[in-house]
């Protein structure tokens, strides 16, 4: 979605906060989500994603701050709001003792689908999600992927303008996950529905989301398009260098002596330098070539949402009173400061 063409926001949060006793699950969340966007909420377990979805649907009330969703105040107008939202919960939350068809029929009535349309709408969704053949079977006999598809069908029964999908592909095989991805894109691109996607899956978020918000301990750590976040956080390239197998040691020695603030790593004969600037590539190649190292491949990897995510969480860990220096989320022995700043430079 082109950010310049955004319409009025369908979700507006201002300092939205939710506490459970001493625990602050959502901490001063302020953001706008626009019509037709696929918006990603990224964060670890306990980051506040699911609580935010509950607040935005009026099944939890905020401790502080306000929210407006599709023009409704979720805290005071929940029933009216929920007529226009569909939610895929983290667990499918299906009545497993009932058949798929009965599950959908009951929820069609709960979502006030016109009586005359219930049967056709249920059949249509069973067909779309390829469940027609087993529509009469109890859900308890379904695979995880089938349950997830059925739960997604249930969320779409009443053609909601706004869809909340909490970990929609967790536990799905790649084929089923791709099918869900296609459905989400179709909902946004062809049906212009707004989708709020909560996920841990960074590849999924990068692939599907127009914008993402990264949450950590209930706080908004970053907000923007994946490209904007990479730019904002100054994430740099990851450089893979493949040299002749018998010269890996020489190359590592050269790079180690030339780099001031980062240690190159190597695995299976491939040297990886994290945090490179584009301008450094010719200098690294020159350094190795001058020393007579046979360089077979130099592959710069563009920074991904994953890099942004880990950098942000490293920063968060660093900023917490009990944050442990060096125990970064990425598994690399980096400090938070290193995660955010340039990691290496080549001495002249």
């Amino acid at each position: 979605m082109d950010s310049d063409m955004r319409s009025d926001p369908v979700i507006t949060c201002r300092n939205l906060t939710r506490r459970f006793g001493d625990v602050v699950a959502v901490d001063g969340l302020t953001l706008d989500i626009h019509s037709g966007e696929v918006f990603g909420f990224l964060g670890h377990n306990g980051a506040g994603k699911t609580t935010t979805v509950r607040l935005l649907n009026g099944i939890l009330t905020p401790s502080d701050g306000t929210a407006s969703v599709l023009g409704f105040d979720p805290a005071g107008q929940g029933p009216s709001l929920r007529r226009s939202t569909g939610v895929l919960t983290e667990t499918p939350s299906l009545d497993e003792r009932l058949t798929a068809k009965v599950n959908l029929q009951i929820y069609a009535e709960l979502y006030d689908v016109p009586v005359a349309c219930v049967a056709s709408r249920v059949d249509e969704l069973l067909e779309v999600f390829e469940l027609s053949d087993r529509a009469g079977e109890k859900v308890s006999g379904y695979s995880k992927g089938m349950k997830q598809r059925l739960a997604l069908a249930r969320a779409l029964l009443h053609r909601p303008a706004l869809l909340f999908l909490d970990e929609p592909t967790t536990g799905l095989d790649p084929v089923a996950a791709r099918r869900v991805h296609e459905t989400i894109r179709q909902l946004s691109d062809e049906e212009h529905r707004t989708v709020l996607l909560c996920t841990h899956n960074l590849v999924e978020a990068q692939k599907l989301c127009d914008r993402v918000a990264v949450l950590g301990h209930g706080r908004l750590l970053a907000l923007g398009t994946p490209a904007e976040l990479v730019h904002q956080l100054g994430c740099r390239l990851r450089l893979e260098i493949e040299v002749a197998p018998d010269e890996v040691g020489t190359a590592l020695d050269l790079l180690n002596s030339a780099l001031t603030s980062a240690t190159p790593t190597h695995e299976n004969g491939v040297i990886t330098l994290t945090g490179a600037e584009r301008e450094a590539i010719p200098r690294v190649v020159s350094l190795l070539a001058t020393a007579g190292v046979r360089v077979y491949r130099v592959a710069p990897q563009e920074p991904s949402l994953e890099d942004v995510y880990f950098a942000l969480h490293d920063q968060l860990a660093w900023s917490r009173p009990n944050g442990k220096r060096g125990s970064s989320m990425s598994g690399h022995p980096r400090t938070a400061a290193e995660g955010l700043k340039g990691l290496w430079e080549v001495t002249a």
Partner: protein, 272 residues
């Protein structure tokens, strides 16, 4: 009130309950025992009067120990008839109340705590139903079947006892006024008490079993009635039954008011 949503939830809950054999089998077996087997056997007791050690000679002593009000009501019956009336009209009456109580408690436990246990509550909370509609639907899911069993059972019990005791009584002796009040006034109230208690317990309980077992404490008043009558301390007079019903309705109002305050989306979502 969106009655379409309420009907949908009631239908869903009942379908789910009756798919669970652990719930549905007791719901079938207990009424058969209480309404069919027990009164049938009790009605046959006078026929064994000729068996050694089973005569009715002690009945007179037993009647003398009964409360005076009940003795007055039994005046005019011979010893065999007295035994029938005491057993079928008075002693088994509290057992009849177990039915609506148990049905309401079992279904409510499955509907409230069971839904939590199966993790199906969250999807319901995201629907446009209001908290009031959701609570009402869930209460009706448990209360209406309990009422059905109570009133259907009352009719069945009447047919069974009149038929089984016909040779001894020679006329239709059931129901009396006390039983009509018991069925129409007390049974719905005691179902409400089972329901209200289970709603309260379910707010904390994590599983169906936990909710049902803790909620079973409501059977105590019935046990007291059985013991009280068997020991001759009390008997279920028309006035007492009316009063018991009044107290139960009052308890229901309190239980449901408190339970209703706990059964709110925001409360439920906090515990998910």
């Amino acid at each position: 009130m969106n009655w379409r949503s309420i009907r949908a939830i009631v239908r869903k809950d009942l379908r789910v309950v009756f798919q669970n054999k652990g719930v549905s089998i007791p719901l079938i077996v207990l009424p058969v025992l209480v309404l069919g087997v027990m009164p049938g056997l009790a009605a046959l007791v006078p026929r064994f009067q000729d068996l050694p050690g089973a005569g009715l000679t002690e009945i007179g002593d037993f009647v003398q120990r009964l409360p005076s009000g009940l003795r007055a009501e039994l005046a005019g019956y011979n010893e065999a008839q007295t035994l029938i009336v005491v057993l079928l009209v008075y002693l088994l009456a509290p057992m009849y109340l177990v039915l609506p109580l148990m049905v309401a408690s079992v279904i409510a436990a499955d509907s409230f705590a069971g839904e939590k246990e199966r993790k199906t509550m969250e999807a319901l909370l995201y629907t446009p139903t209001t908290d009031g509609e959701l609570l009402l639907a869930k209460m009706l899911s448990a209360w209406l079947p309990a009422l059905g069993i109570a009133w259907g059972g009352f009719i069945l019990y009447g047919i069974v006892v009149n038929a089984a005791a016909w040779s001894t009584m020679g006329r239709i002796f059931f129901p009396n006024t006390m039983w009509v009040i018991l069925a129409l006034w007390v049974a719905p109230a005691i179902a409400g008490m089972g329901l209200g208690t289970t709603v309260l317990v379910s707010a904390r309980a994590e599983t169906f079993q936990e909710a049902y077992q803790v909620g079973a404490i409501v059977v105590l008043p019935i046990v007291l009635m059985v013991v009280g009558q068997a020991t001759g301390v009390m008997y279920l007079s028309t006035w007492l039954v009316g009063l018991v019903g009044l107290v139960l309705w009052a308890v229901d109002v309190v239980l449901l008011w408190v339970g209703g305050r706990k059964f709110r989306r925001t409360e439920l979502a906090t515990r998910m």
